[in-house]
Symmetry: C3
Subunit: 471 residues, 3 copies
């Protein structure tokens, strides 16, 4: 199922360079500076329930494709976490039946990265070498199910087997970080680091926004009824995250808009946000102002800042109401960076030591906006191709469209950004192969020398990510 030359260009001269480069980086440790795995897994270190609970139910990459071809999410046992969902609906789903539905539709993933990740996980973890299909669905299920009950498949064992050096999670500003602390207290050597993601106390449309703010005040003992206290509360939480190992923040905004308001205007804006008496545009403006404030905090405390803009969340209202967030219904939209980031960059763009990593779901911005910005501002770095573009063609487009203007050294290596633990090594493997394929072509076309390509392959795999995320 896994050819040793997979994802390398077929042209023999390029393939041969790519394979040599890959050979030099394939065994380097995995550094995963941004993702959505659960710290609880590593704190509790309990076995995963069954193949369906591991591979299908949490992975929106998988079930959205099945849904797009008419498979009801109910039949897969996807939890109904939405306000109109039935929380017990999944109880009656036989995970083996759900797995059979999956196997029957496995052909839908042809040509997708999900297929590459799954084949890799099936093959390297469970020794399965025949492509999943309806006829072997039960065999697959039995093999995986049995393995999951063994100590080799506990979360910590997987972390170690995958040769992970560090794994960052994504945590709300008010998180207790109890699982991170429990991991540390346990004496286990795995590095599971929190990332400060304050969206839920910044986006006034976030579910439970007001409660989140009050919780922020209660935890920090700051007076969050006013602008100054609110900012201090955030500063305090950042220090708490830093004390628990965080090296970065992350921000998921609808746009990349930033603002730099005079303090009195910002003060009044916060009042309207806090009291819920918002005027038109306030909610977006507040998020814009906060990006600049957070950049200032990063200049102070050294946390690397990440921005993930441009996703229209929960586009399918019916699915959202029943199943809740993160159910494959988030759709990218055009995203503007040049004018949007100007206020923030005018204030902090030339600050030494500040690192601001930009992501995009709008590939048109690679060559037009992001590479020119990152090829000029000292603080800016470009995150790898994200989400829908975390794929062989997507990664190749990223390199082809970014490198000539921003070079390699204004990028930051790979992020797996996943909720699916078993996909981590698969995703890093794809990234390493595609980077080596790109470098192989540059060598074969005499655009860089081979000794440089070896240095670059290593930098793209471990060097740049360590530097950008201070790991």
């Amino acid at each position: 199922m896994l050819d040793p030359n997979r994802l390398f260009p077929a042209e023999p001269a390029i393939r041969s360079v790519a394979a040599r480069l890959y050979d030099a980086v394939k065994d380097l440790p995995i550094i995963s500076p941004h993702g959505h795995t659960e710290p609880r897994w590593f704190a509790e270190n309990k076995p995963f329930a069954n193949p369906t609970a591991l591979f299908l139910q949490p992975d929106h990459y998988v079930f959205r494709m099945l849904y797009s071809q008419g498979v009801p999410l109910e039949s897969l046992g996807v939890p109904q976490a939405g306000v109109k969902g039935d929380p017990h609906a999944a109880d009656n789903i036989d995970p083996r039946e759900a797995w059979r539905v999956f196997a029957k539709h496995y052909y839908l993933f042809r040509g997708t990265p999900t297929r590459l990740w799954l084949d890799y996980a099936f093959s390297t973890n469970f020794g399965l070498t025949e492509r999943l299909k309806p006829e072997n669905a039960d065999h697959y299920y039995d093999i995986i199910d049995e393995a999951l009950q063994t100590p080799e498949f506990l979360p910590r064992s997987l972390y170690e087997r995958f040769n992970i050096e560090v794994l960052s999670t994504t945590d709300t500003a008010t998180d207790s970080l109890e699982y991170h602390q429990a991991i540390k207290a346990s004496g286990w050597k795995g590095r599971i680091l929190p990332t400060f993601r304050p969206d839920a106390v910044i986006d006034a449309e976030y579910v439970g926004f007001k409660e989140n703010i009050e919780k922020l005040g209660a935890i920090t003992k700051e007076d969050v009824t006013n602008w100054k206290g609110y900012l201090n509360a955030l500063r305090q939480r950042r220090q708490f995250f830093i004390a628990n190992g965080a090296t970065a923040t992350d921000h998921g905004h609808l746009t990349a808009m930033t603002a730099d308001l005079p303090i009195d205007e910002a003060t009044r804006l916060y009042e309207r946000i806090y009291t819920g008496k918002t005027e038109a545009g306030d909610i977006e403006l507040f998020q814009a102002q906060m990006l600049t404030e957070l950049a200032g905090m990063s200049v102070e405390d050294g946390l690397t800042m990440q921005l993930h803009p441009g996703s229209v969340r929960n586009h399918n209202l019916g699915v959202y109401e029943r199943f809740g967030r993160d159910k494959g219904c988030d759709i990218p939209s055009p995203t503007e960076y040049v004018r949007s980031l100007r206020p923030l960059l005018s204030k902090y763009g030339n600050e030494p030591g500040f690192t601001f990593i930009l992501f995009t779901l709008d590939e048109t911005t690679y060559s037009r906006e992001l590479a020119p910005l990152a090829g000029h501002y000292p603080c800016l770095r470009l995150g790898p191709s994200w989400w829908f573009h975390d794929s062989p063609e997507g990664m190749m487009r990223f390199r082809e469209q970014v490198t000539e203007t921003a070079g390699f050294y204004n990028t930051v290596g790979f992020n797996d950004d996943t909720r699916a633990l078993l996909s981590i090594p698969a995703r890093h493997d794809v990234a390493r192969r595609v980077d080596c394929a790109f470098l192989g072509r540059l060598v074969a076309e005499h655009r860089i020398d081979e000794d440089e390509a070896f240095e670059l392959a290593s930098d793209l795999t471990v060097g740049l990510v360590r530097k950008a995320y201070k790991l």
Copy 2:
């Protein structure tokens, strides 16, 4: 002129897979679910007048390129169908002279799909093997002219020789479908199916809009002075189209905007549209509301719905006034889908059995909007690369940018979308070759297995189109 390996990548490993795949699909029947040929041709089955009338005068792909390099449309005998045109201007044009002008400028088509289509048509239909050039213009003209007078070149013979299984035309909502009926009555076995395209009774800026609405009322005996009667009239016409073989509708809108107004607002909006007392934004809003209404009708009656948005029609006013519509002056513009389609998709996006096929002239939407939408909503499918992008590079970009997120099975095979009958097999041949080239690369890079590629090649050629268009 036609190398057997044309359009396959030069790399031998990929070429060899591509050629094997192509060999398996090259003789499958042509299914043409969307295009602009004339049903009258097949009803009357008369010979085409001459080479110029067949290849130049109706094909805006051809004459717009000549015009862009200073060749007057008058010299080609393009009919002056505009309000300021002279309807008899083309009478004095010697078709042979026009053909010579064409031959003299044939080099302009180097690197374009038009060149590929024409070479294919010249070679396979007329045995012409030397590239068209000024020196052989008369030879070409004589050979083609002579052939056109033979029974082998009558429209029905061509349909049969081209191995067409079904050919859909595009017809206004008020069309009598007399030619479709005549074809059926004739006993000829060719399947020429109508497609319901109601733009002329939905777009209030369409020439003759009010007359079209009145005609709609007269034909259906519905009271089109009010919203309910107007909708019923459309429903009735859809039934008439269905009775005459239609399986799909088609909608050419300036944008993809949809709306879902409360019934009283929609009622008043229609009144303003009907009486011509429109306010700012009404015309666009009415089209937006109608897309949602039409989707609802498709849910009821099962017609597959197609949307072709984003063309700024008749951009060159001078040419439009003299020569009329469809003269190569339509220019694409940026098109937004995510927010635009939300009202329609919120209402009908999860309906089982509803098929809604999206097209675009804005390639930036492939990976950013269309693939994520189609990779989630059960009703959505993506039409093939359209018009300016119906070309080898365009098709390859479509597959490269769509497949990783939407897979192959949320696409619908190929549409030739042509007015040029002789280009149909050429266009399908290009599409099959490019799909096989893409699949060949995936196989050579070990991203799919070769047995899957054979299944996919067949699905992309006939399977998906039959399913999406219910043929």
Copy 3:
């Protein structure tokens, strides 16, 4: 350092065609119809000061990349030409030290066109064959420094050695063209032609706008207090430029917006612009109106018109204030052409003899807007991939995305657009190689014949540029 097959695809069949094509065009003369070299260099014909002054300090492609990785512009001796800059700051910079900083960071340019240009310049001009690195920085410096003092490295010698046939500069509307005249008077045979670029008397936000207008009036003795006099002054200056060899104009606007106002509205608009009593939108509208006026003047006097829109200038305010314009802080933004150009094209788009060359920094417009426009309007031609996209991948995307709709003959060959004299042959060499690589693939895929590819290679190198710029 320079492999003879560099930039050709690795696939042997394609490479072999590409190499044959390149062999046929590599020694053709350089025609440089648009760029930013100084006519003064050729008038005075003095030696360049030192390697740093030649390669680093004037080239924003170079120092912006260093700056993006934290190298202060001060340490490179970049002149502080901004309002808050210290004009003597660079006096104390040792050029050799600056060169060492450059050498230390040379690895940053891996994968960028700057690296290709520099390696070419180092190798072909100075016989340097080992890649620049910290260890050989002084050796490089010494070799280049010594060469610059020899007659072979005077500007006129370089022009001749580079086999330049014509080199166009870019000059403000009020320029005296004294250096162009001095060159002519000197009897030297080099053709250094001015280009009429009136931005500074059209963009009311340009530094010194009012003074520029007054200067325009003073030079032409026209009454520039009114619209008619202002237009006449521009007409007069165009005649002066034509008398001094100009064949083209150039316009750098923020957008591609054009307007066609009634004369009384235009008259009043100019009054508001002239008196500084502008209303919201006036400044942009005036630029839009002026593009149409200038197109009309080109119809009259035959100057080829160029439009370079879409750059947000001086994005980094801090750098701008200290260092001034053209310091790598210009960032592209989305650019619309279809609706924007309609007023101008409606008026002059079908005029015989009018040539209007469009450039873009927004690659999304290649296939969506620019190729369809150029593939229809007789006046339109597409300039080569510009600035950030003047690179191997960028040029390849241009050909791939433009050719199928616009063909090759609606493009105009290559522009080097450079301030860096030594990069001119390097840039033309890259363009010739990439064009041959593209043509080689078309031949290998049997999309054009090899004899056509030879003709095209020559047309893309010299034929199209001569025709479009009337050289």
